[in-house]
């Protein structure tokens, strides 16, 4: 079963659930015709179905759902009251949809069929009509006397109240009258197909959560058992414990795996979706996807699919302008929708950015006034953000014309509801250059690596995504330590000014700032766009943690993003680094004065670009290193390589060049031995007058890397960090680290004396202190 099949199956399962719910809702609606919430539910269900069918290009389904939705939106807005005919039509719609889906399930494609009559009927009702000549009568349908006869009955006696049960029965029989072409040949395959859809077992999230909790408990019990085994001399016991140990580990890993899936699962269908919408609207749109491998909880994936479809629809249909309009504005004719996903502060962030016209805020404000949501005097005083908030209201749309794609104003309402349901939030930024939506989704049950630090007697976790480096500062003669800079404590790190936050002070555990002549343990973190140092009592260790929520009572204490259970069974709190940055006032103080500029300048935010050489390693692609560190590029035949002790060397001119296989020193790369007839690309770097060859897999070209490029990942072994260049992620090789790792340390080199000073106190990120 390929990916598309899988997605289709998921759709079919979802559709089945929607139908089951629709049946229940319709029955409930018959009993409570005035229940607006119920109408809203049905409306949303139809809308979801329509959205998903657009996604698969099931046009019949889409059209029928669209027509049903139009009628429902009138009822929702109170323009129409529910009557028997409308209920008939809606039930007919639901049955028709169910039928189409049933056929899709059998044949994997949408069968042909004519829904004109039903759609006409729905349109007629939407326009406020009554007593439409029923579809059973018109020429579209083949004669099905039985069904037609039953349908005509309520028509002839419109005044007589109809029992709900009768009504349901009658309308159910409607579809009999409709032509559904089911090719005979396909029937043979039917049983097989049906079992395929039934194959995946749906397990409730609660059950998975419970299992997960039990596994965590088991890990703790295992840990205790291990400590017994250490002191016990009983071989049989120890072997049993070891077995339990491995099984527990595997159980834990599998348990985690059941829940994590790459976001690409949801994204794969978007290129087609964008293409289709772009074609329908006569636009040129390019979709860029970054970070498709970001994993998130499966349940969350399901939760974000519909919102993403809505947002992308909006971006293409509303956001991106027509090619002519774009040309007139001086934008490239082809619009861009950029999907980007990454982890930030223990949240999965999904950004959908388009370079379209942006949200027309004055129009939104005008519509809000026209709809009576706000007075004209009041609206003038609203901030941009408050105006944006209007678009989240159900039924709010600035589009005069409702298209098949969007404009009903249901989109953002559904988006926000769905995202909030999974505990996330939506943020919109808009300008005439485009709109960016940012969905932050928490990792309710995700695993995240964290650095544990101690402050007073308790340990706290800092999400590793925020951590840049950890260092110990020891005051020395002549070296400036903590200084005061416009009211902020700062620290010089390699000639850069880093603002400091004292954790004990920030958490109000201690009134005293530590004396400046004491050694300090500093964790350098980055959040909310700034880099700062957190002074802790001790850096403990790094560990993968299971993130748990902090419960409702900490809603007013945003300093924590979650909690986790430690190996000894105690609870530790996980910091929200961005919230700490805000709380500590650093950001406000930075924004206040030229400090920001100074810091920015100090952090190296100049607009220069640096030329770098782009190459691949086995198992890890797109690595760059500064061009000034490259002397030459060579292709060296493996047969020319000699071994000297455990080193590989090659005669290079009249010198001996040491060869360093970079795969050995760069985290994430795959090792491979060289074979006799191979020729390998080698990057020649001169170190203290000696040539050194870095063996790589493939050398590409030279790229310009902006020096203020955002580091999007923390340093790893051999890699300083990653930058985004031309929408692709590149890792920057840490040449100095490679040299020192390979035994060509630079500590004895006077040219690097300054660096060596700093590095002495740095705990490298991959070094786990148990």
């Amino acid at each position: 079963m390929d990916n598309n099949d899988q997605i289709l199956d998921e759709f079919l399962l979802e559709a089945q659930e929607i139908f089951d719910q629709l049946d229940l809702d319709f029955v409930a609606l018959e009993q409570n015709p005035d229940d607006k919430k119920l109408v809203g539910n049905i409306f949303r269900a139809m809308h979801t179905l329509k959205g998903s069918s657009g996604f698969f290009a099931f046009h019949r389904l889409e059209k029928v759902a669209h027509a049903g939705e139009s009628l429902l939106s009138k009822i929702r807005d109170g323009a129409l009251a529910l009557n028997e005919e409308i209920t008939d039509a809606l039930l007919g719609t639901s049955d028709r949809l169910r039928e189409i889906v049933a056929n899709i399930q059998k044949q994997r494609i949408e069968s042909a069929g004519d829904d004109t009559a039903l759609i006409e009927w729905l349109k007629f009702l939407t326009d406020g009509g009554k007593d439409f000549p029923r579809p059973g009568k018109d020429g579209n349908s083949p004669p099905a006397q039985l069904a037609a006869a039953v349908i005509e009955q309520p028509l002839n006696e419109p005044i007589e109240p109809i029992e709900p049960s009768m009504l349901a029965q009658e309308t159910r029989s409607l579809p009999i009258a409709d032509p559904i072409e089911v090719p005979e040949v396909k029937d043979a395959a039917e049983p097989e197909r049906s079992t395929e859809v039934a194959a995946p077992i749906k397990v409730s999230v609660e059950l998975l959560d419970k299992l997960m909790n039990l596994v965590s408990e088991m890990v703790l019990a295992r840990n205790r058992l291990l400590s017994f085994a250490r002191t016990s001399g009983d071989l049989a016991f120890n072997n049993t414990v070891r077995r339990i140990d491995t099984v527990t580990l595997e159980l834990q890993e599998r348990m985690m795996k059941t829940r994590m899936q790459p976001i690409s699962q949801v994204w794969t269908k978007f290129p087609r979706l964008v293409r289709d919408i772009a074609q329908d609207t006569g636009k040129k749109v390019d979709l860029i996807q970054i970070g498709a491998e970001t994993e998130l909880d499966r349940t969350l994936l399901e939760g974000i699919r519909d919102p993403l479809v809505h947002i992308i629809r909006n971006s293409v249909d509303h956001g991106i302008e027509s090619p002519e309009e774009r040309a007139a504005k001086g934008k490239p004719e082809q619009g861009t929708v950029k999907l980007r996903s990454f982890h930030e502060n223990g949240m999965v962030v999904i950004e959908i950015a388009d370079d379209g016209a942006g949200i027309n805020l004055p129009l939104v404000a005008k519509t809000a006034v026209a709809k009576g949501l706000v007075t004209a005097e009041r609206v003038a005083k609203l901030t941009e953000r408050e105006i944006i908030d209007f678009i989240y209201l159900p039924g709010f749309s600035t589009k005069d014309q409702i298209t098949n794609l969007s404009g009903r104003g249901v989109g953002m309402d559904v988006v926000r509801t769905n995202i909030q349901e999974i505990g996330g939030n939506v943020d919109i930024a808009t300008s005439s250059q485009g709109t960016r939506l940012r969905l932050s989704i928490p990792l309710t049950l995700a695993i995240m690596p964290a650095v544990f630090v101690r402050c007073k007697e308790y340990s706290y976790a800092i999400p590793q995504v925020n951590v840049f480096e950890m260092l110990r500062y020891e005051p020395k003669e002549g070296v400036p330590g903590v200084e005061d800079f416009y009211g902020v404590s700062v620290f010089r790190l390699r000639d850069k000014l880093i603002p400091l936050v004292f954790l004990n002070h920030e958490l109000k555990l201690d009134d005293q700032l530590p004396p400046v002549d004491q050694p300090l343990n500093i964790v350098i973190v980055q959040a909310a766009g700034i880099r700062f140092g957190i002074v802790v009592d001790e850096v403990l260790y790094m560990q993968e943690v299971v993130v748990k929520s902090v419960g409702p009572l900490l809603k007013g204490t945003p300093v924590y993003s979650g909690s986790t259970i430690l190996g000894d069974g105690r609870v530790a709190l996980i910091f929200d680094i961005a919230a700490i940055a805000v709380r500590s006032g650093i950001i406000a103080k930075l924004a206040d004065n030229q400090f920001e500029q100074d810091i920015a300048a100090a952090i190296g935010a100049n607009t220069d670009e640096q030329q770098m050489l782009l190459f691949d390693l086995l198992g890890i692609e797109r690595i760059v290193m500064p061009l000034d560190a490259v002397d030459r590029l060579e292709m060296i035949a493996a047969s020319r390589i000699d071994r000297r002790g455990n080193e590989a060397v090659v005669l290079y001119g009249n010198k001996i060049m040491k060869l360093i296989p970079l795969t050995h020193y760069v985290e994430g790369a795959t090792h491979k031995s060289l074979y006799g007839d191979e020729t390998v690309p080698v990057i020649v770097h001169y170190h203290k007058g000696q040539p050194i060859g870095f063996i790589v897999k493939k050398v590409h070209n030279i790229v310009n890397v902006p020096t203020q490029a955002v580091m999007i990942t923390q340093p790893q072994r051999g890699i300083m960090g990653s930058v985004i260049v031309n929408d692709s992620v590149m890792s920057i090789l840490n040449v100095q680290e490679i040299l020192s790792l390979s035994g060509m340390g630079h500590f004895d080199d006077p040219a690097f004396a300054h660096d060596a000073e700093d590095i002495r106190g740095v705990i490298s990120m991959d070094q786990e202190i148990k």
């Binding site: 929520s549 009572l553 259970i565 609870v571």
Partner: protein, 147 residues
């Protein structure tokens, strides 16, 4: 909240409290609580109950009583409220008690206002008064923003 039924009882200072066992109560002792700096003052901290994070509420703070001077003989009583688990840190746990409507009386007005808010009513037992707590209000009444 029904006025008759079974209650889990406990002492805080000289006061004798009960919460209905219908809401699912469990008693544990000696949990190591991780405090929450900057959190609401009523929140004593968090601890782990079989893989669940439990929010511990210091009932002395919640009721506006002076801190326990006799030592840390704290016992927790758990209950669940809207998917979150809570524990009440109390001084001493009593028995499970069955009461009927007959002994019930509205909250006496001379009670401290802080405590009165949380108390549904009083059962006049033979030897003492049993104050019935509204667990939901214990949680919902906590002021989330402290600073």
């Amino acid at each position: 909240m029904s006025r008759s039924g079974s209650y889990a009882t406990f002492y805080i200072g000289n006061l004798f409290f009960g919460i209905p066992i219908a809401i699912g109560v469990e008693v544990t002792k000696g949990q190591e609580v991780t405090p929450v700096p900057l959190g609401p003052k009523e929140v004593a901290g968090f601890f782990n109950l079989r893989g669940h994070i439990v929010t511990a509420i210091d009932m002395r703070v919640r009721l506006g009583l002076p801190a326990n001077t006799e030592g840390p003989d704290v016992v927790s009583i758990f209950f669940q409220d809207q998917d979150a688990l809570f524990a009440l840190m109390v001084d001493r746990v009593g028995d499970f008690t069955q009461v009927t409507e007959a002994t019930f009386e509205e909250t006496p007005s001379n009670l401290d206002s802080n405590a009165r808010e949380l108390i549904v009513g009083v059962h006049k037992l033979a030897d003492k008064l049993l104050l019935i707590l509204d667990t939901q209000k214990i949680v919902s009444g906590i002021n989330l923003v402290q600073h």
